[in-house]
């Protein structure tokens, strides 16, 4: 039996709406479920006590919050300068030859490499070979390698998007190449670079696999970056796998979702603000 075109179209439209509803329903199910069961746990006591760790689900998430902050700050401190520098290099200084083509291919490929492979590398190099043992610094170094390709790529794209005329105008006025980059190209590319950094922050908060094999996962309050520690994501994983404290795991999930929503909102706000500013100035 052949369906008439209008009937087929009706069915196809229904399928499209159904697919969209599925996506929304999946998101709502996750968020409502996590909030409904988790939000009751959250309170000052939950935020301000350390978890006991091990097989016990007792305690709060204070050390995991500190661990997360440590990881985000250290990772950015290492990956942002290197990644932005490399992005500038590739966009402004490197020509288009076989070497840079290989480099771009390596970066592109590494951006898709699973986080656990970075974990393997980080564990072997930082934890074992460099003898850092399990610690926040080893985790941050590994995570820095993981976010590096994304930062490089996003920075390079942002810089390449700056119109060539801007550079030529600046050079024609007698500015040196670096002055041109510093005062003309970088300000124009700033929204893209800021987005790259915020994406890296989001990635650091949600990443688990490569930290699972490098950070150690101690529940104690970390003092220095050389201490063993855990992030919120890791804490959630340990609670879910080793304890029965599912409400606390879900409460940690609530915290993570809130952080991600805030990061998403900042990204949107920044990019729209910069868009207005750029249009006003140029």
């Amino acid at each position: 039996m052949r369906l008439s075109p209008p009937v087929t179209q009706k069915m196809a439209w229904a399928a499209c709406w159904a697919a969209a509803f599925f996506a929304i329903a999946a998101l709502l199910t996750i968020i409502i479920y996590v909030f409904a069961r988790g939000v009751g746990e959250i309170g000052w006591a939950f935020l301000s006590t350390d978890p006991i760790g091990g097989l016990s689900g007792q305690g709060g998430i204070r050390s995991a919050i500190v661990g997360t902050i440590y990881i985000v700050v250290l990772t950015l401190a290492m990956a942002a300068p290197l990644g932005i520098g490399a992005g500038i290099y590739l966009a402004e200084y490197a020509g288009d030859n076989w070497f840079t083509r290989i480099v771009r291919w390596v970066i592109e490929t590494l951006a898709g490499v699973p986080s656990i492979v970075f974990g393997l590398f980080g564990f072997a190099l930082f934890v074992i070979a460099l003898n850092l043992s399990f610690c926040i610094l080893a985790g941050a170094l590994t995570l820095a390698c993981l976010v590096l390709p994304t930062i490089i790529r996003t920075t390079e794209e942002a810089i390449k998007a700056v119109p060539q005329g801007h550079r030529e105008g600046s050079l024609a006025l007698g500015a040196t190449k670096w002055q041109t980059i510093r005062h003309v190209v970088l300000p124009a590319a700033m929204p893209g670079i800021v987005t790259a950094i915020i994406l890296a922050i989001g990635r650091s908060v949600e990443e688990t696999a490569c930290l699972y094999v490098t950070m150690g996962g101690s529940a104690n309050m970390p003092i220095t970056p050389l201490d063993n520690g855990r992030t919120l994501s890791l804490h959630l994983f340990y609670l879910a796998m080793n304890t029965n404290a599912m409400e606390k795991a879900l409460a940690t999930g609530v915290m993570l979702i809130i952080i991600i929503v805030i990061i998403n909102a900042i990204t949107r706000w920044l990019s729209s603000r910069w868009m207005i500013r750029m249009q006003g100035r140029v």
Binding site: A12, T176, T208
Partner: protein, 282 residues
């Protein structure tokens, strides 16, 4: 002075660029170097076709992990590709504006939710339901459903881009010939966007194969070749995360070799995606 700072900054940028690139190359070289002894000692073919993984006997074959990874990925794609493509058609062609403004942020948020949160919701919501069908509930099916939602955003956004990049004249020509809107989408626009949609599928596949923590949480982690979707299994990534921290000797090399196999998969998928995307741009 001006000239000095110009060349000094160029050096700084060069150092950043070079060190990022060295780090990224180091990761690949390191993983290969640590993994090669396993290939030479066990034999590449025996390693990937061996069905036993017994640390006590120093007997390592990763076929069950490969089957686990591919099984989960395939099942997830069977569900997420139709959903994702219909959702992309919906966003590109069908959705009224208000609906688009709901679906887009929802999809963006799905990207940001940490994988451990997906794992946790899968563990608490899906696993008990699936255990009613038979088995313990920790299964390929649970993992595939979790993955379906996780790769959906990738498939939606890349397919939507490729559908949108189909030249307008194709669509107008088809409509002018009297085709219905759906006939136009199905017979003209989707074939034109074919490479981009395939790239979306391949990228989703890469994400699925690389996922680690959410898989560990819902798949049961048993070392046996799974047959039914209700069987527990183990993925390549899961084995790396679970065992690397206490591995020594040949076990250590075998895990890195498993990482190399994973890299080969990702490399192949990325290259295919790159070729497909290149074709779309033409």
């Amino acid at each position: 002075m001006r000239q000095f700072s110009d060349s000094a900054w160029k050096q700084v940028i060069l150092v950043c660029g070079a060190s990022s690139i060295v780090i990224l190359l180091l990761i690949i070289i390191f993983t290969l170097r640590e993994g090669l002894p396993a290939f030479t000692e066990i034999g590449f073919f025996k390693f990937i076709s061996g069905t036993t993984w017994k640390v006590a006997n120093d007997d390592y074959g990763i076929l069950s992990f490969i089957v686990g990874s591919i099984y989960v990925t395939a099942l997830a794609l069977v569900m997420s590709v139709p959903l994702g493509v219909f959702c992309a058609i919906f966003l590109a062609e069908v959705a009224p504006n208000w609906m688009r403004q709901i679906v887009r942020p929802a999809v963006e948020l799905l990207v940001g939710i940490p994988s451990v949160v997906y794992g946790l919701v899968g563990l608490l919501l899906l696993v008990p339901q699936i255990s009613k069908l038979g088995g313990s509930g920790d299964s390929i099916l649970a993992a595939a459903i979790v993955l379906t939602v996780m790769v959906l955003p990738t498939i939606i956004s890349v397919s939507e881009d490729s559908i949108r990049s189909v030249p307008r004249v194709y669509k107008e020509g088809s409509l002018a010939l009297g085709a219905t809107q759906w006939q136009t989408i199905w017979h003209v626009m989707l074939p034109a966007a074919r490479s981009g949609i395939l790239a979306a599928v391949v990228l989703g596949m890469g994400r699925a194969i690389g996922e680690t923590m959410a898989m560990i949480m819902v798949i049961g982690n048993s070392i046996k070749i799974p047959v039914s979707p209700l069987d527990p299994a183990r993925t390549m990534t899961g084995s790396l995360a679970l065992e690397i921290n206490y591995a020594t000797g040949l076990h250590w090399n075998a895990l890195f070799a498993c990482g190399v196999v994973l890299l080969i998969f990702i490399l192949a998928l990325n290259s295919i995606a790159m070729v497909l995307r290149g074709r779309t741009q033409q």
